[in-house]
Symmetry: none
Subunit: 213 residues, 4 copies
């Protein structure tokens, strides 16, 4: 009689996925609030209101406000990380192409948009005084930087480089970050491609022979 078991399992999975769905929905609402109000004005009441459920229930899913914020940050982080890692995995084994893949991935619409950037900056702003945030943000950032550096080093030995690998990596990453910030201010639209082309231009200047490879 497998039915009850299956049903139970199914019910169990269902419940679990329902709970996951709720959590995701609440994280989304949290990001909306942070985007529009800033972290200091983001209250449980407002998050609950935006998500359309009661404040009491909100704390049933996330035991504390801090937990909710941390999981929101963690979600952002995972999304960001898997974005460039997936791009790398999909790219050929060539360091130059991988570098370009990372750059291109950095401007993917899913992670590089007004709302997400706004939330990132809000967390960054608080990270200095909240070790838990710093840990997440920092680790993420470091993984990205390290990989960028490793690629630059790999490229350096293959081609004529006009910059040391470390400086090259710093300038590329800095430029990406700077362009991200511009997304908050300037008009939206087709800037994404433009941004990618600009960073590619820098890469070409640093590694003149890269494209010809």
């Amino acid at each position: 009689m497998p039915t009850p078991v299956t049903e139970k399992n199914f019910a169990g999975r269902n419940r679990k996925s329902q709970s996951e769905f709720r959590k995701q929905q609440l994280i989304e609402a949290t990001m909306d609030c942070i985007d529009k109000l800033g972290i200091s004005q983001t209250t449980l009441a407002r998050i609950a209101a935006r998500a359309g459920l009661s404040q009491g229930n909100l704390l049933f899913h996330f035991q504390t406000k801090e937990a909710l914020l941390e999981q929101t940050l963690r979600f952002l982080n995972d999304e960001y990380k898997s974005n460039w890692q997936d791009a790398l995995a999909a790219a050929p084994e060539n360091p130059g192409l991988q570098l370009r893949a990372m750059i291109k991935a950095s401007f993917a619409a899913r992670i590089c948009n007004r709302k997400k950037i706004s939330v990132w900056m809000a967390f960054w702003g608080e990270s200095r005084s909240r070790p838990a945030y710093m840990r997440v943000c920092g680790a993420n950032d470091k993984a990205f930087s390290d990989r960028l550096l490793a690629l630059c080093e790999a490229i350096e030995v293959q081609t004529d480089a006009r910059l040391s690998a470390s400086t090259a990596a710093l300038s590329i990453e800095g430029m990406i970050d700077g362009l991200w910030q511009n997304f908050l201010i300037g008009p939206s639209g087709f800037k994404r491609d433009q941004a990618i082309r600009a960073v590619f231009e820098l890469v070409d200047a640093i590694y003149p022979g890269l494209t010809d490879e």
Copy 2:
């Protein structure tokens, strides 16, 4: 014996300057708090305690908390602005040297240190949701960017450039920002010179003939 007059004048100046001194002292305390606690945990009570006077008196000098924060941001801004503008004024009329002066100034100990950077980032984090901050931060940033771009354009016509002026400016500014952020994490110490050298390296790569001029 003009003593009474002088004394009177002095007293007059004293009154006013005393008030100014208090305000500066309070702005300093505010920055301390933001640095250590983040904006969301920075309360008037804590600022007053740090400055060593009553909360009531704090609001006698700054009518509202928001006003205090805004003036703190404005102070940071003025300091930052005058720093690079003074450096530019002191530099020769040569665009290349001026570009280097701006870069060097960006890492001056007075503005580029753990505390100040931490406060800047805290404000940036809130700026999305507080137009008043955005206005100050944005205007400041834009003046710097515009000047950098103008210098790159001036250099471009004089020497062989490996990058368009706009991309060059973006990468230089991005790299400066990226290095600033590093100040928050790594150990302090002699990184300042190192940072300047790294950006100079980028400039040299972009404008190969610049140094020989």
Copy 3:
């Protein structure tokens, strides 16, 4: 056995009525405070203490202090209004008897007692500078005055009047108000009947033939 349904309904009604009960209880506490301390000394802390619950909860039911005060005034107003309107509705269609019914109702124990009068006066005292109060107080007053005037006009055409309807109405209403004020000072007790008799005496003087009708 419809018990569950009934119970559910009851529970439903219970929730809502419990909230209503709380609100009423809080309005009562507010009136107590205003009576004893005056509006300017009536604080949320004191109201909450008197009602026996926390200040936070007080503002959960009434979003703001002003809202609480306004609803208190509105309650007073509704009570006052329904008092004389019910009395009128219960009276025969005869203008003379209706006039007497209004007068009598004005001194009903439910609305004409030390506490309620004290609260009324407190609101009146603030009404000049708070348009919201003025609107409620004024509207109420006007409805009463208009009705009084209408009755005097109706009586005027039926009997010999020694005063124009408007003056009659003004003097009757003025006398009622004056007697109300006396309730704040003199000893309580049997003054209510005395007051009614005094106003009736005025009515008789103005409309000599009225009683004989």
Copy 4:
């Protein structure tokens, strides 16, 4: 050598009168504030601002806020009292004429105007909870009522009265108060004469033969 003495006296008188002038000016500012803001929003800061001097100096003249309010009320009271008493003193010894003089005086522009009435009501509103106010207001009121009653009694024995003296006095005083209140709401203008005529009409109705006397 009378000069120094005189001068001293003069200086003394001057100082004193200057001080009196200041006090009067401050009382005036207080009434302005109460009129426009209500008692609960009337703060020393606002009074001082309106009077054009510093808050510190304000408390030099009146040691405490309560003292200032009480003296303001006392001023109002004295003005009111002397107004009807002077009118009585100027009137012939005839009770009927004296009654009319009192009524007429009640609507004198100096005491019966929007601002003054507004301030009176504000004090009345607070009087229940502030014995000091009650004492002043009550005493004043009582003197007026008593005199009115005495005149009614005097008239009663001279002429045919349609009302007992006490009821007559209550209705007359009530009508005056009611008309005062109307000054707060209705348009200003020539209502003063109209009000006097209306009360006279009531008097004529109560004491038919009075005018012919």
